[in-house]
Subunit: 125 residues, 2 copies
């Protein structure tokens, strides 16, 4: 009846900041300098919603035209926010004909989650 927690997935690129949560040991200056821009990118209500709209969308990608309608903001402003998210690698985009599609880059969000939290994907033997 003993509980056993076995981490089986580490969606990590091998860096210490990914493997070790904030709470386990002090973040180095280099790690903090690398992570801060990622958190800064999501530290805006519009970008949080954009990221969520993109990440949760059926099919994994969204046309910009589907995003602008969700906000009372001009198209350049939405474009600016998308650029911020793209610059830090959270999302990527491609033009296909008239439209531009955005999708979530896998792993990056998981890494941020892993830095903050003690939660681990676990399996049982």
């Amino acid at each position: 009846m003993s509980k056993q927690i076995l981490p089986i997935v580490d969606p990590c690129d091998g860096e210490a900041a990914c493997r070790t949560p904030l709470v386990r040991e002090p973040l180095s200056e280099a790690e903090a300098t690398e992570l801060a821009p990622l958190f800064k990118a999501i530290a805006d209500p519009v970008r949080l919603r954009l990221l969520s709209l993109i990440a949760s969308h059926e099919g994994g990608e969204v046309c910009v035209c589907d995003l602008t309608g969700a906000f009372e903001l001009t198209a350049p402003t939405i474009s600016h926010h998308l650029k911020v998210l793209r610059r830090v690698g959270l999302i990527d985009s491609e033009r296909r004909g008239t439209w531009v599609y955005y999708w979530l880059n896998p792993g990056v969000l998981d890494r941020l989650s892993a830095v903050l939290g003690p939660r681990v994907v676990a399996a049982v033997s």
Copy 2:
């Protein structure tokens, strides 16, 4: 031999933004407005390191005097960053005699991690 993932811990205060990760369904405007300031608070390399120093410290609390030495910044600047972290509820503090001690407020960091990530603490039957 089937893997089974049973969430046993949900360090959540009951709000939707906590239970449901960003990737599962679109964040509401209210949720995004509430979460953004929290991410903004940790979206700075100095505050990330401060938070990590506090969170990972033996005994759970740290004297400010132990923090200032870790940075090449003036005391007012450190004090300012601590205030930012405290304002959003990530940390709390108390004066005991000459010194002021800071500690991590439980749950808040877990909640942010839960919003970003699909990772769940799991147990096995």
